[in-house]
């Protein structure tokens, strides 16, 4: 019989159980698949020529020299390195050690480098344009994922991001067209997104309707409303109602002149700068302020929050409304952010990608932003590659973010834990 001889210790820290390490084969499997893909490219679709990475635009004050690599050799080198990484992950799991995050990151960057080199063989890749465009495409995704993070951290799943983006885009276009003031359009978009958020909040918090379903239905409703008014009202009066002025690009002095970083991050429109501020504020607010502490409390354990005097449903309501306003702000990117007239269903599923970014980013504002950037990068990569004549059909590039998301939610990227009360209504007594 197994017995313990010593008297039990009741001080904290001494009571943990014996442990062993639980490991998973997911990461080595995923590594293996991607290594094989790279190997397949090298063997079955060899590419001749050099790949040129261009890091500067002609207008830049400080020029960074181009990077030129011989494509096939570089790809073989990458395949070798990927194989080493895969092998090391197998050994780690074998010896019951965890796969460190840096290995995953290095693996991903290596693979991306190998792929880009292979795809761009014989031509030059305009890296500034690629990254600039990635950031631009990511803007609505980032706003959307911030909205998702706030909502889910408060315990309300926000599937209506798509609808909020669309409502924001529509309202911004109309109000800015009528008044000629993009700033008014921006505010109106936030109000519109907030209204959609409030409907979501009322139905899920007051009437306990399942949040996912309200979200889905709201997307349909907003799509229907905006498309109806577009056909019925905007299209016949396009000159007055649907010719939004745009925010101009506003290069920030000094910061905009930094090589590589400047042209990518600091020669953008005010919406992008607002995005930087929003990410910083949400991150700081969520983890370092009373607002964030309470927000997370109602999302993790609403009953506990209730017992310390926090009004759970009110907290949830206003934060879902706030999330809606942020997503609405993101919607402005489509119209007044780009100077494009509103069109039916012009957000084209961005809200769902933002949602994927939330989960991919493990409900963390910074990680979700990075995930959104990744998605923006994948979309823009497709644009760039189709310009230089990519060997991969553009559809497969467009598929990439979605496939990556499936891998992410299937847990190949590491475990993530949703807020404990996410999606659950709080029903008192």
């Amino acid at each position: 019989m197994t017995t313990t001889a010593e008297r039990p210790q009741l001080s904290p820290g001494a009571t943990s159980l014996d442990t062993t390490v639980v490991t998973s084969w997911k990461a080595p499997i995923a590594f293996g698949i991607f290594t094989l893909i790279a190997l397949g490219l090298a063997v079955f679709a060899p590419r001749a020529g050099d790949t040129t990475y261009r890091w500067s635009q002609e207008s830049d004050v400080i020029q960074v020299p181009d990077l030129v690599v011989p494509a096939q050799q570089a790809l073989w080198a990458v395949v070798a390195l990927l194989a080493v990484a895969t092998l090391s992950s197998i050994l780690r799991v074998r010896s019951k050690r965890r796969i460190p995050l840096w290995l995953v990151v290095v693996f991903a960057i290596l693979f991306m480098f190998g792929f880009l080199t292979w795809a761009g063989a014989g031509s030059s890749l305009p890296m500034i344009g690629l990254l600039f465009g990635s950031l631009s495409l990511a803007v609505p995704l980032i706003f959307g994922s911030l909205a998702g993070v706030i909502g889910e951290r408060a315990g309300v799943v926000n599937i209506a991001i798509e609808g909020q983006l669309l409502a924001g885009a529509f309202t911004a276009a109309v109000v800015a067209s009528v008044t000629g003031q993009p700033w008014l359009g921006l505010i109106a978009a936030m109000v519109a997104g907030m209204l959609v958020g409030m409907v979501l909040a009322v139905f899920s918090i007051k009437y306990f309707v399942d949040q996912i379903i309200v979200g889905v239905v709201l997307n349909v409703l907003v799509t229907g409303l905006t498309s109806f008014f577009f056909s019925q009202v905007l299209a016949p009066n396009a000159a007055t109602l649907n010719t939004p002025p745009r925010f101009d690009r506003f290069p920030i002095p000094l910061l905009g002149d930094i090589p590589i970083i400047g042209p990518v991050f600091f020669r953008q429109t005010v919406i992008v700068y607002l995005m930087y501020i929003a990410v910083a504020l949400v991150f700081f607010g969520l983890f370092y302020t009373r607002w964030g502490l309470r927000l997370r409390a109602v999302g993790e354990h609403p009953q506990a929050a209730d017992t310390v005097g926090i009004n759970v449903n009110r907290t949830r309501f206003w934060n879902v409304a706030l999330a809606g306003a942020i997503a609405g702000l993101g919607g402005t990117f489509y119209t007044i952010g780009s100077g494009i007239a509103f069109n039916k269903e012009m957000t084209a599923g961005a809200g769902f990608i933002a949602l994927a970014a939330v989960i991919f980013g493990q409900w963390d504002p910074i990680k979700a932003t990075l995930a959104a950037l990744l998605f923006g990068f994948a979309s823009n990569l497709q644009n760039t590659l189709s310009v230089i004549g990519s060997p991969v059909p553009s559809e497969f590039m467009l598929m990439l973010p979605y496939v990556v998301t499936i891998f992410a939610v299937a847990g190949f990227v590491g475990r993530s834990r949703a807020p404990a009360a996410d999606g659950k209504p709080y029903i008192k007594s």
Binding site: D210, I212, L225, P425, I427
Partner: protein, 452 residues
């Protein structure tokens, strides 16, 4: 057994020994009991994927009643009417001098709304302007034609709902099914009948497998099926888009458009009303959808598989403890659900659009199917009825657009509002000033309901 010396004044004769237990046990009432009894909180085990969180919704829907459904439809149509009137040019004109001649505006409002809804009715049920009954009833057959894929898809979503899964992947499943069935339909030579059957089965298998990816990932890794199915929609869309523009796959030979050639006659669903007069679109697909409804009813209500489905849908933990293979049920459910949505896709290419299809062949039915299933309260016959209602909206919506210039998107608004209202009976009751029938939410359900 009970304490005889302390009769409880208000207790019903049922002999509830300790009714208070139900009050003090959080699990008995609230769906969200406090996490672990304070024990060092048990880490979430990845072995059993958590159930989807839409259960409450299903409960809400299942406990509503027919009156609420009717009132919801009325309310949604009312909102639609306001939108129609508000955007009508005549109404806007007359509103300018409303205080001078209010009658003008009221007449204009009536005119626009009545015109639109009459067109809706005549486009979906019976057209009185036609001479013969056969011609007059044609809109109804159109309604049934539009309803066919909605019913099939709605059944797919409803079945997944009952197992606790939310299949938003109808679009992808339809696209894959349509591609396979379509390819068999135009590229393979088989005798009449067999050709149709092979194409149908090919499509069902395609839809089933596409959906099962989500089922398998949920079962094996806990990946949330909502996210996976949404993502698979896009993957399917781009995959099919690529095939459609690649000669030798789906693209019509000699064409540069991303479109397939027309289906061969041997693969096309025969028309049901061709004997009546030419020009009727209703086809054999409707019979298959009807058969599918019966099948789903049998599965859910009368079969062992359905029993396990429902057990997993309501309480996967108890199902697992009772030896039911929960992960297996997730996969089976998605297989069947995907096959049903695949049926919707097959129906599109072999029945409705037989002249070749593009990447838009799903026509949003994958998403409409969700609202159909919700309106149908996830029961087979409810879904059938809801499918016909939405089919009518579609058929009527097109004629409303043609006759009155009201954009078809109004239908989307009305449909989504119906579902929202139905999901929130208290809201509808408040609006119509109805009494609340359920002072005690616990007793709201009739015990018979589940026996269906």
């Amino acid at each position: 057994m009970s304490d005889p010396t302390e009769p409880r004044g208000d207790a019903s004769a049922g002999g509830d020994l300790d009714p208070d237990v139900a009050i003090e046990e959080p699990g008995a009432i609230a769906p969200d009991p406090a996490p672990s009894r304070g024990a060092p909180s048990k880490p979430v085990d990845d072995d059993v994927p958590p159930p989807s969180k839409w259960h409450t919704m299903l409960r809400q829907i299942a406990t509503g009643n027919a009156l609420i459904s009717v009132l919801s439809v009325v309310l949604a149509l009312l909102v639609g009417a306001i939108m129609i009137a508000f955007t009508d040019e005549r109404v806007q004109e007359t509103a300018g001098y409303f205080f001078a001649r209010p009658g003008d505006m009221l007449f204009a409002v009536w005119d626009s709304v009545a015109g639109a809804y009459t067109a809706l009715f005549q486009g979906s049920v019976y057209n009185f302007r036609r001479d013969t009954f056969a011609a007059g009833i044609r809109p109804l057959t159109e309604t049934l034609t539009f309803a066919t894929p909605l019913i099939a898809g709605g059944l797919g979503v409803a079945l997944a709902f009952r197992v606790g899964m939310f299949n938003i992947g109808g679009r992808g499943q339809m696209l894959i099914a349509a591609s396979i069935a379509g390819w068999i339909g135009f590229a393979v030579d088989l005798p009449w009948g067999l050709h149709m059957l092979v194409a149908l089965i090919g499509g069902l298998v395609g839809g089933a497998i596409w959906a099962a990816i989500a089922g398998v990932l949920k079962a094996r890794t806990g990946a949330h099926e909502v996210i996976v199915t949404i993502m698979l929609n896009y993957v399917a869309f781009y995959l099919v888009s690529w095939m459609l523009r690649t000669p030798g796959l789906l693209q019509a030979p000699g064409s540069s458009n991303p479109k397939t050639p027309a289906m061969k006659d041997s693969a096309i669903f025969p028309g049901l009303l061709d004997w009546l007069a030419p020009g009727y679109n209703l086809h054999f697909g409707f019979v298959i959808a009807l058969a599918a409804t019966v099948l789903v009813w049998w599965i859910l209500s009368r079969s062992s598989l359905g029993f396990k489905f429902r057990a997993v849908g309501i309480n996967p933990n108890a199902a697992r403890v009772a030896g039911i293979n929960v992960k297996g049920m997730y996969v089976y459910a998605m297989l069947i659900s995907g096959a049903l949505l695949g049926l919707a896709g097959v129906n599109q290419v072999l029945g409705t659009v037989t002249t070749g299809f593009t990447a838009g062949i799903d026509a949003g039915i994958g998403f409409d199917a969700i609202t159909v299933a919700l309106l149908g309260r996830s029961t087979p016959w409810g879904t059938f009825a809801a499918g016909i209602l939405f089919g009518a909206f579609k058929a009527g919506g097109f004629s409303m657009q043609a006759a009155e210039g009201v954009p078809i998107e109004i239908v989307l608004v009305v449909q989504s509002l119906i579902v929202l209202f139905i999901a929130a009976p208290p809201l509808v009751r408040t609006i119509f000033g109805l009494p609340d029938p359920s002072a005690k939410p616990k007793r709201r359900k009739s015990a018979k309901e589940v026996a269906k």
